[in-house]
Symmetry: D2
Subunit: 345 residues, 4 copies
Amino acid sequence: MTIKVGVVGGTGYTGVELLRLLAIHDEVEVVAVTSRGESGNPVSSLFPSLRGFLDIDFCDPESTDLSVCDVVFYATPNGIAMQQVPELIAKGVRVIDLAADFRIKDIPTWEKWYGMEHACPELVEKAVYGLCEINREQIKDAKLIANPGCYPTSVQLPLIPLLKKGYISSENIIADCKSGVSGAGRGAVVSSLMSEVNESFKAYGVSGHRHLPEIEQGLSEAANAEVQMVFTPHLVPMNRGILSTIYVDLKDTDAQTIQTYLEDFYKDEEFVDILPFGSLPETRSVKGANMCRIALHQPQGRNKLVIVSVIDNLVKGAAGQAIQNMNIMFGLKDDAGLQMPPLLP
Amino acid sequence: MTIKVGVVGGTGYTGVELLRLLAIHDEVEVVAVTSRGESGNPVSSLFPSLRGFLDIDFCDPESTDLSVCDVVFYATPNGIAMQQVPELIAKGVRVIDLAADFRIKDIPTWEKWYGMEHACPELVEKAVYGLCEINREQIKDAKLIANPGCYPTSVQLPLIPLLKKGYISSENIIADCKSGVSGAGRGAVVSSLMSEVNESFKAYGVSGHRHLPEIEQGLSEAANAEVQMVFTPHLVPMNRGILSTIYVDLKDTDAQTIQTYLEDFYKDEEFVDILPFGSLPETRSVKGANMCRIALHQPQGRNKLVIVSVIDNLVKGAAGQAIQNMNIMFGLKDDAGLQMPPLLP
Amino acid sequence: MTIKVGVVGGTGYTGVELLRLLAIHDEVEVVAVTSRGESGNPVSSLFPSLRGFLDIDFCDPESTDLSVCDVVFYATPNGIAMQQVPELIAKGVRVIDLAADFRIKDIPTWEKWYGMEHACPELVEKAVYGLCEINREQIKDAKLIANPGCYPTSVQLPLIPLLKKGYISSENIIADCKSGVSGAGRGAVVSSLMSEVNESFKAYGVSGHRHLPEIEQGLSEAANAEVQMVFTPHLVPMNRGILSTIYVDLKDTDAQTIQTYLEDFYKDEEFVDILPFGSLPETRSVKGANMCRIALHQPQGRNKLVIVSVIDNLVKGAAGQAIQNMNIMFGLKDDAGLQMPPLLP
Amino acid sequence: MTIKVGVVGGTGYTGVELLRLLAIHDEVEVVAVTSRGESGNPVSSLFPSLRGFLDIDFCDPESTDLSVCDVVFYATPNGIAMQQVPELIAKGVRVIDLAADFRIKDIPTWEKWYGMEHACPELVEKAVYGLCEINREQIKDAKLIANPGCYPTSVQLPLIPLLKKGYISSENIIADCKSGVSGAGRGAVVSSLMSEVNESFKAYGVSGHRHLPEIEQGLSEAANAEVQMVFTPHLVPMNRGILSTIYVDLKDTDAQTIQTYLEDFYKDEEFVDILPFGSLPETRSVKGANMCRIALHQPQGRNKLVIVSVIDNLVKGAAGQAIQNMNIMFGLKDDAGLQMPPLLP
């Protein structure tokens, strides 16, 4: 099989990561990579890392007919995909949006957090939230995938099974999350400069971050009750990687039972790795790879469960999960094109 | 006034930071810096950064008479100071221990966490815990200072006033702390190698870290009740800096009242800076400086107060606070020799 | 004495470094820091590192009368100072330009490399090139200082004495220079983003960089002959520091004689440190300090002398040297306000 | 075909990189990974990045029969392979040594630079220097490969063709090389600590580095005359990557002719990429990939050619080239198992 793939917005970090992974996917042919600013230039002139691996020019979004594609990935800023996707869907093209346009089911909530009016609320309803291991069945038949946010992926993968099962309290949940700077994108802003980020550490969005409603939506559905949690993102002076330290209150279930349950829940999943109890995952153990590694701790035997979860924000947190979604949609094995081990050191 | 200062263990990061600060302290003469391994070598041959600033050789600990000093700093591994301090104290020399030998009042607790028998429990009782802004009065007359740990400094400075006042709950306290790698010391271990630490992020000591009992001791005293909390240290790929994100349950007091109270509590303190409500302090805002900056948040107006606190682990978290303690002990202004602004970027 | 100081362009890295150093200079009062964009805001709101150290607001350049200053520092982009300086000079204010407007004596050369017409060629002639240790006498009486570039400082300090003395060939000189990213400034450009710079290394400006004519001007004057050299700048994934590796052909003089000569040449200079022959200076040995450390090597006893020179690009390569120039101009000791040891680690 | 592979010394960075690449090589089965210290432990317990990708335990070197392997890689410190290789070769096992034991043909030179007596000089003669693109024909039939050093790979790939052709002078060659810290290995030494390396830059081995005789050997053979050059290694605060800036004197040939010649010389080579004249390669453009990218410059049109060459020191500079050698030895395509694009950012 050869899947004809289009990429809209191939000049950011999510875009180049998609291209890196698509370039070596045996069942994929990249037929179009659009960019207004780079139109006509070889992709490898902007990203010399791809020289010899992907031989295609950026094309103009206006004059490119994406309806020849089997699937189109949107690696654009929020608010772009929703303008264009209805037409593509109508033409039978499948779409995977790596931005946030279709992640939040409640339109007023989305509009409040993203500060704009939604262009196609009717499609939000039909979109499938592409958290692969949780929603695999719906993904298979989906026309439109809302690829999950990076932080939400790292937080929901461990919590959803436990909330569904009722093993942990739905109150008092705290997710203290830390991300490398590529999550802030390739935009030219002072706050992302090397001299601003390097050799420093900070929290940001403490009072409110767009991934909060996305996580709360997923957790609430799992808990079958409204979940309100605290989510604090931090910026780590490194390029890639997210580590989430999650604090939850144990209910009646002991930590070992939870460990066993989680191992069992994910035992057939290649891209979720439940580490032995008490392990200390590092973000580098997933660098460049489509993988979420999770470890549980019960400090001092007290009543708090501490969950540590790591992903590469650009892979399992973005481009890798997007390709995993594509694989599921097209009946391929999850790991097609995604078998590379992490890069260490 | 000239204070004659001795430094035991001047070859680690805490040691060299002490020497950097002492070198420009107008009222200090460094008369001895001991090191078994480097004895006879100029300090500046090991630390060329000090060439032209500190012209002294390392001396042998065996043959050096530290009783000529007015004060001796121990920048040694845990367990060294307690062997030597009783003799110095007996001779009238004041001692500031930057290690942990005298921090924990309960001897069995100390022995359990530090894995050795304490050599002079009788001195532990007399030692003053040198958290300057909290214990200034006792420090003035102290013969022996237990200089606080880096994490404990960053966590206790914001929490102690609030627990004393009863503004926050003493239950459910979580301190999610992140430190640069200099906190791990200058020992040659694989886990501190550049290739191991750089471009990665991890939690460590999740199940139990030695700073837990130290923090709990301080918080329990402030709350006048036993405080059990969760403390999770993390390693940030940078040299210096600690940021602690602290989650506490609000009681009846609103966040603005707490903000005002904290500003007032520290209004005369040069080295504790309460930022405007909702600020986002970065570790680089204190790099190289003896300063703790603290900000409060109340995410989404819910019942959790989030406190962000930053220090330089080597300065306010170690050598700077040690010198601040010395200043207080010798009747100098707190900021003698400590007036340098942080280095940015 | 209190020198009234104005700073034009205080929002970049050179600007904030100037402010850090001026804040603790006993003989300085900062009376104005201009910024069009930040006018009215406290300096410490842009740079929280200065909270508690510098209590002044940015002021509007249009409405600020800088003629009340004794000296004005320009920490602006190239091309700004030359528009404003003539008026200030006419009013008797001394000026230190940290940009390049007055560094190149040959106007057509300047105009070619900087791509604009010079606004006041007549002042270029009168400006003194502020390489302190070389031009101290002229600096004392200067009204206008052209503060040297960062790379040129690191290259000229070791080479000028040797070329003057005729100890090395004026042909075949190669300066392979490496700089931290703060040298690229605080402008919001993609090429300075953390994700672009971090974990990578590159050469830039290989075919031609503006510091080439500046260095060649200085070396030619020293050699009393036209010097053509190769200068290759590189970008190091770190914030601060320049290391220049300089390759020169030995003439009849042996390396040890050169070592002795250089030690003697700089023996009274506090801020140029000739290390023992064969030393390996690191940029961190000068981090945050006004210092140039230099070491000589003669690999395999062959005919090439290899000179390694390190500075902090923001201090001896910019703000520190600027203040050293001010000190000399106002009859202070060179090291007034500049006595801080480097920050390590 | 399935090649049975043994790895001796799998606990260093070269070792884990070999394992990462071998794990996804379709024609390879890893049958043994020896380590004295880790014997009996899963490889993935030391390197969690390999969990799910390589399911094998470290085995004891004493009790492991490597003669069942088709090829054995030595990723050991210098001086180990030469003790063991004769026996393996005698048994018909092919060997690829990633250390330096067989790189230098002149035994006294080797013994001088490596400070030990060579254990099997007779094998040195038979060993093939595995610079794949230069020595492909000899590699095909080799029993023993001396895998080139990292710096030598980056310097020789551009220079050997030019010296052979006589386009550049064999005198006055300078290689100013910069490497990430993984090149220093995974040994626990202070000089490789994060706090020592990070945020600093230094030269090392200026007076003499072991890769000097290796490079000179290769260049001398190419020039058919003794080449003496200057080689200066530097340490970059990053994990991976080498950039070599090479200065050579042009002879009668103009730079464009050299550009065309080099493009032609390597036109069929997948892993040597001659960039357009005047390009500025970054080390990240080869991160994690078996690739050398090379660019030529002629600054100011003068008589020096400046060559910039980048590789990943662990891949084309070590493990990747080793596998490329294996592929050639076993009649596979060069790129078997080596097709991954570089990781950016």
